[in-house]
Every structure is written in structure tokens, then in C-alpha cells.
């Protein structure tokens, strides 16, 4: 019933039957395109065929990864911006994600370890980096530096927040400053790259970790695949910018299945006790 990753003849009757089922019962994996009953993806939302993790909201991620979580800096004022349609877009994003911004930051317990945790949410305007998200991340690193806590960031983003223009670009520099000061204090920073981590987020704090982990098949890169294809007038392979290829190129320490992520982080945190 499942489509395998190597090309196999498709059972058109099965596909037709699957498509006839009420939506919501079946899920199609965006990575390997296999279809399976939603429940087979489990609570962690992982494709039973290829191990790709469906995109989680920040709240789902926090529930999966932490034993305890206390949010910081929830009440930051939004930048007044008159960009047409931006306010409506933010409102729609909030209801789609259940988050009030593209990143949620706070203090968390992972295993037995207290960490400063930032979790991005691709359901909120594609996880884009606006001023509020940048300010939350900056404060996350500042508070972690003061409290001498390690930082874990679960990244997912399309990049900069276009509607905020140059102010969004400046967040890349602002957060990088905070990362640099946390690093200078001898403290640990672990990044978990999840699908997708692109643009200005990949080109700043998401690639500045002491240790960089990734979920299987996550797309990680600077420019979008279609922009590159249009520039070089060529088709790119299916594995282009996938975590496995990026790891082979030398930019990711380890690819960790979602079910093993908590244990992996706990093991790394234990090796850096007090950092």
C-alpha cells in the first residue's frame, strides 16, 4: 500500500481509494510521497516509510521535547508596520499555529537538564524572522548568558520577514551578537535544524551552534531551490539541500530521528554540564 522510495509501480486503484477517503484520515509524506493512515505517523508525526518528521507547531515540539517549559518574553510589542495586509496576515498565522510569533522562547527541562530553549514555528508566517522573533531570540541568549545556561534552538524558517524589510535583516546581526556573547562566556549552544531552515535564519544563528543536529530529510540552505534552478538554468537533484547531503558536505554533526532527539540532546548536555 505504501509507495517505496525506489520507484515501484503504483497501484492506481489503491491511490484512487485513498483519495476518496475523507481528508484527514490519510496523510501523504511530503518527502517520499507515500500515503498512510494518519495514525501510522504517530503522535510524533513521523513518516513510517522514510522517517521524515512532519512540520510541528512550536507547542507540539515543546510538548514532545521537554519535561517542563516556562515561556519568556511573551508580551513584546509588535513593530508598528503599515505594510499592506501585514496585520491580517499575522492574525491568520496566529490561528494557524496557535503561536503568537514565529518563535517561542523560555526555560525548559530536557531530561534532567535545564536549558534556555527557542522553538521556531513554520506555521507562523513560514517561521520568518521579524523583529519580535529576533528580540525574543536575542533575549534568550542574553538571559542564558546571565544565568549560565546552555541554549537549544529548534530552527525552522523560510528566512527573513519580508513585510518588515530592513529591520528583519538587522535581526540576523542582532541575534548573532547575542550568540557571540553567549559563546564568549564559554556556554554551549546546540541547534536542531528541522524542515525547512533557509535564508537569513540559516545564514545566522541556525548555523552558529557549537553542535548542529538535523532531523532526517530536512531542507537546509540559503537560496531557494527554484531560485537556484532559475539562475543556473538546470534541474537540481531531489536530495539537493536535504540534511543528508548537507551533512556529507560537512555542515551538520548528526542527523537524529525525531524519536531520538530528546535522548541525543540530554547526552550532549550531560557532556557539557555547567556550560
Amino acid at each position: 500500500m505504501l509507495k517505496t522510495s525506489t520507484p515501484a509501480p503504483l497501484d492506481q486503484a489503491v491511490i484512487a481509494k485513498a483519495q476518496a477517503l475523507p481528508t484527514g484520515l490519510w496523510l501523504t509524506c511530503p518527502n517520499c510521497h507515500a500515503s498512510a493512515y494518519r495514525r501510522r505517523f504517530g503522535a510524533a508525526k513521523v513518516c513510517p516509510q522514510c522517517g521524515y518528521g512532519l512540520r510541528l507547531t512550536a507547542h507540539e515540539r515543546i510538548a514532545q521535547l521537554t519535561q517542563q517549559f516556562e515561556q519568556w518574553d511573551q508580551q513584546l510589542p509588535q513593530l508598528p508596520t503599515d505594510f499592506p495586509g501585514y496585520a491580517d496576515k499575522r492574525q491568520a498565522a496566529a490561528s494557524a499555529s496557535g503561536s503568537d510569533e514565529s518563535v517561542i522562547c523560555g526555560q525548559a527541562l530536557i531530561g534532567a537538564h535545564t536549558v534556555a530553549l527557542g522553538v521556531m514555528d513554520s506555521h507562523y508566517m513560514m517561521g520568518s524572522l521579524g523583529t519580535v522573533a529576533g528580540e525574543r531570540l536575542c533575549r534568550l541568549f542574553e538571559r542564558a548568558t546571565q544565568a549560565r545556561l546552555p541554549v537549544v534552538v529548534v530552527a525552522t524558517s523560510g528566512g527573513a520577514r519580508m513585510q518588515e524589510g530592513i529591520q528583519s535583516l538587522m535581526q540576523m546581526a542582532k541575534v548573532s551578537q547575542a550568540v557571540a556573547h553567549h559563546a564568549a562566556a564559554g556556554l554551549l549552544y546546540i541547534v536542531v535544524l528541522s524542515d525547512p531552515t533557509m535564508g537569513g535564519v540559516a545564514a545566522s544563528f541556525a548555523m552558529q551552534g557549537d553542535i548542529i543536529l538535523a532531523e532526517p530529510h530536512s531542507r537546509v540552505g540559503f537560496a531557494g531551490k527554484r531560485v537556484i534552478e532559475a539562475t543556473i538554468h538546470a534541474q537540481l537533484p531531489a536530495d539537493f539541500q536535504r540534511a543528508e547531503a548537507v551533512q556529507k558536505a560537512g555542515f551538520i554533526d548528526a542527523i537524529v530521528p525525531r524519536s531520538a532527539l530528546g535522548a541525543k540532546l540530554a547526552a550532549l548536555l550531560a557532556l557539557h554540564e555547567g556550560c
Binding site: F83, P84, T131, G134, C138, A160, M162, Q163, G165, I166, Q167, S168, L169, M170, Q171, M172, A173, K174, S176, Q177, V179, A180, H181, A183, A184, M198, G199, G200, A202, A203, S204, F205, A206, M207, Q208, V220, G221, F222, A223, G224, V227, I228, T231, I232, A234, L236, F240, Q241, A245, A249, G250, F251
Partner: protein
């Protein structure tokens, strides 16, 4: 002038080449090439020269003058080895307490297959991280196009200046229009919304200074402006310099 006219002006050829610009600012320029890891990137010219009586490091993006140069630089779009070359030269400058001047004219980092495979994102991220604590002054000057993260990577200075005929934006107006309006032909309308002109960026405290248009005299005028600024920054205790740089970016 409309915002889009400003963009076209920023992209137009200037009456001096990048090398003429460098030669107008520093004397006895000694070029240093390569990232010491992968290869050289002709989209970035770097080296050491005399600003008046003081050795400085100059790092400039360039679009090239001839057609082969323009092809080799991808129209002034650096690749990861270009950013790593810039970082290497910044570390070298730091070692010898040499101030750094960056000259920026780039549509952005090159969106190429090799560039991605060699860590375009990581190369820019490394620069942003390094400049945060770099123990020597850095003045960045946007002389033409300042496009997205590829420009920001070289523009995290103690001061950031713009030429009157330049632009600085999160993305090209064409890219912006295609993302937000799903229509690349709406670049003109996009430009008007982006706040990319020197006037707007000065008002928003993204840059400290706008240099008036000076035609062929621009390199000389820039040199005259840089001398006292570099002298002032170089005289600061390093801790003060870094605290001020941090505060500069913290306010956004």
C-alpha cells in the same frame, strides 16, 4: 526620484571601477587572494594599503569591468569562498590591529549549486558571528547595491555609510515582488514599500551617514571622510569599541 529609480541608479555603472575606488582610498594597495581552504573568489577584492599614514585592510565586492570579469563574479555575487576570504582578511586585520573598510556593491550572495553545496549560509553566519566580537574597527560603505544577507555579511560595522546613489534592502525589489505579490513585474511598487533609499535608511538609523554624489571625485571624497572616522575608532579602547558596536546592533 522614485524608489525604483534609486534602485536603477544603484545598479548603473559608476564612472570609476572597484579597483579605482580602492586606489582612490588607499595607496600602495597589496592584494591578498584566496580563502586558504577552497579557492579564490573574484567577486571580492581584498588587501592592505595606506589610508593616509595608517595601514588598513580593504574588502570590496566587485561586479567586474569586462564581460569575462562580470561572468566570473556572477555580477558581483560572492560565493562561500568569497565570504571566507573576507573573514580570513578580517582575522588578519584583527591580529595586526588594522582597521577594516568594506566597500559593498552586491545584489546578494550567489544562488548557485556549488555555492549551496559549499555552505553559503554557514559562510555568512560565520562572518556575522565573527564581526560581533572582532577586535578592530570596521567601517562599511554601501557604494552601489546592498542586497540582502549577502551585503549584510560585510556591513556589520561600527559605522555603516551609504553613497547617495546606492540602495540597501532585505532583497531585490524583483525578488520581493515575486514573493509578496507573486508577480515579478511589480518591482516598482515593491521598491516604494521597501524603505531602501539612503534617506529612509538614515532616518531609520540603519546607516550613520549618506555621502553626497560626487561623480569621479567620489573615491577622494570617501577617503577624506574615512580618515578622521577611522582615526577616532582606532583610538578607542577595544572594550569601548565592542560595547558600542554591540549597542549599535542591539537597538534593532
Amino acid at each position: 526620484m522614485t524608489a525604483y529609480e534609486q534602485v536603477l541608479q544603484a545598479r548603473a555603472p559608476r564612472p570609476y571601477s572597484t579597483r579605482t575606488l580602492i586606489a582612490g582610498i588607499v595607496s600602495d594597495f597589496q592584494e591578498c587572494r584566496g580563502d586558504r581552504v577552497h579557492q579564490d573568489d573574484s567577486a571580492i577584492i581584498g588587501g592592505i594599503g595606506w589610508l593616509d599614514q595608517r595601514p588598513v585592510t580593504v574588502i570590496a565586492t566587485t561586479k567586474g569591468e569586462t564581460l569575462p570579469e562580470r561572468l566570473a563574479t556572477h555580477g558581483g555575487c560572492p560565493e562561500p569562498w568569497g565570504y571566507r576570504k573576507a573573514l580570513r582578511l578580517m582575522r588578519q586585520a584583527e591580529k595586526f590591529h588594522r582597521p577594516i573598510i568594506t566597500l559593498i556593491d552586491t545584489p546578494g550572495a550567489y544562488p548557485g549549486k556549488e555555492a549551496e553545496a559549499n555552505g553559503q549560509a554557514a559562510a555568512i553566519a560565520d562572518l556575522l558571528l565573527a564581526v560581533s566580537t572582532l577586535q578592530t574597527p570596521l567601517v562599511a560603505v554601501i557604494v552601489g547595491e546592498g542586497g540582502s544577507g549577502g551585503a549584510l555579511a560585510l556591513a556589520c560595522g561600527d559605522e555603516v555609510w551609504m553613497a547617495a546613489q546606492s540602495m540597501y534592502a532585505i532583497l531585490s525589489p524583483e525578488g520581493f515582488a515575486s514573493i509578496l505579490f507573486k508577480d515579478v513585474t511589480k518591482a516598482e511598487a515593491a521598491a516604494a514599500l521597501m524603505g531602501l533609499t539612503p534617506k529612509e535608511l538614515l532616518a531609520n538609523q540603519v546607516v550613520e551617514r549618506v555621502l553626497p554624489e560626487a561623480g569621479r571625485q567620489f573615491p577622494t571624497m570617501l577617503k577624506t571622510a574615512l580618515i578622521p572616522t577611522i582615526a577616532r575608532l582606532a583610538a578607542m579602547p577595544t572594550a569601548t569599541l565592542l560595547a558600542q558596536r554591540q549597542a549599535r546592533f542591539r537597538r534593532y
